[in-house]
Symmetry: C2
Amino acid sequence: MYLRSNITRLLQYRSCLTKFQELGFETIYSYNLGKHIGVSAEQIRKDFSKFNIRGNKKAGYNIEELITAINKIFKKNSPQNVLLIGYGNLGQSLIKYKGFSRSMFHIIAAIDIDPSKHKRKTLVPVFPPEKAPEIIKKHKITIGIIAVPDIAAQEVCNLLVKAGIKGILNFSSLVLKAPEDVQINNINLGNELEAIFYHIQLKQKNI
Amino acid sequence: MYLRSNITRLLQYRSCLTKFQELGFETIYSYNLGKHIGVSAEQIRKDFSKFNIRGNKKAGYNIEELITAINKIFKKNSPQNVLLIGYGNLGQSLIKYKGFSRSMFHIIAAIDIDPSKHKRKTLVPVFPPEKAPEIIKKHKITIGIIAVPDIAAQEVCNLLVKAGIKGILNFSSLVLKAPEDVQINNINLGNELEAIFYHIQLKQKNI
């Protein structure tokens, strides 16, 4: 089994490799890739070999081959439908976010508790919470995005789990309780700023 | 020097430890913490010892001590001011996001190119781009959040760097070019969904 951190790194590698490819590079050394991402070259070689991706010590890794190999790991046979819960500012910006469809994920409906938001002519239709189980079943949805205020997040999580959702992207700052077979990833933006601030201080000390 | 992945893990540990503390636990084993986060117990012990955090093999780690030790690493002497660029849906939801102020980061102003958004009576005042250098200097801002469409992201990045910004949280899907002493963290939500989907498939195979 691969741990969450391995998976996250592999996806970071791919984002970075795609960039290098766009800039016209054909090969890359683990050292250069690592420097760009903040991961040691050793770790990169370890990760790649764990996923059976091999390079050439002298010429480096072939970028095209690397991207193909990583894509194979994350292969989806078909686009995946996603349900958004919470049609506030965050929810609406997520619907417009282009990075999802690029990865073959499609937010096909939203759920909100506010009746004034229940419209069909918005970018995606917005339904009341009681419609969620039916929509999840009908569209074979496996992933839900929680973009509601903290106070409602656990209740929404319970609703999703009960309706058969197996993966949750959680934007609330709550750590949610769910059965072991449900994969929850948390976006903690406060932690992101802390990490940035830490590195700024570190770089200043080194000067 | 600590790598970005170490830092991110430490912050994840703290989020998780805080949760366990809220649930009434006083001690924790590296194994339990690891299971919760998707990191091996060995990795956790390695990380903690790198930051001089010591535990007791039999009784586990004292949660309070762990949190204090991690807080010390990320100690800020004063709240940090943050500048938001892009006052669209995403930007407005970030201003309302409570996780920032909890970590002592404050978005104190926003920048937007659209004159109809330049208001002082919004939650934070919104200014035109040409005001950015002045605001950054006046409020000693070191971190900028880029929440503009992809097409404008690199230009905004250049503006921030020129005005002295040393850390950027980037929500655009562009990989930004900046000098080495500028720390850029990217939020790639497409990757988050890919990682969740990968784990769902893995769990289903194991059943």
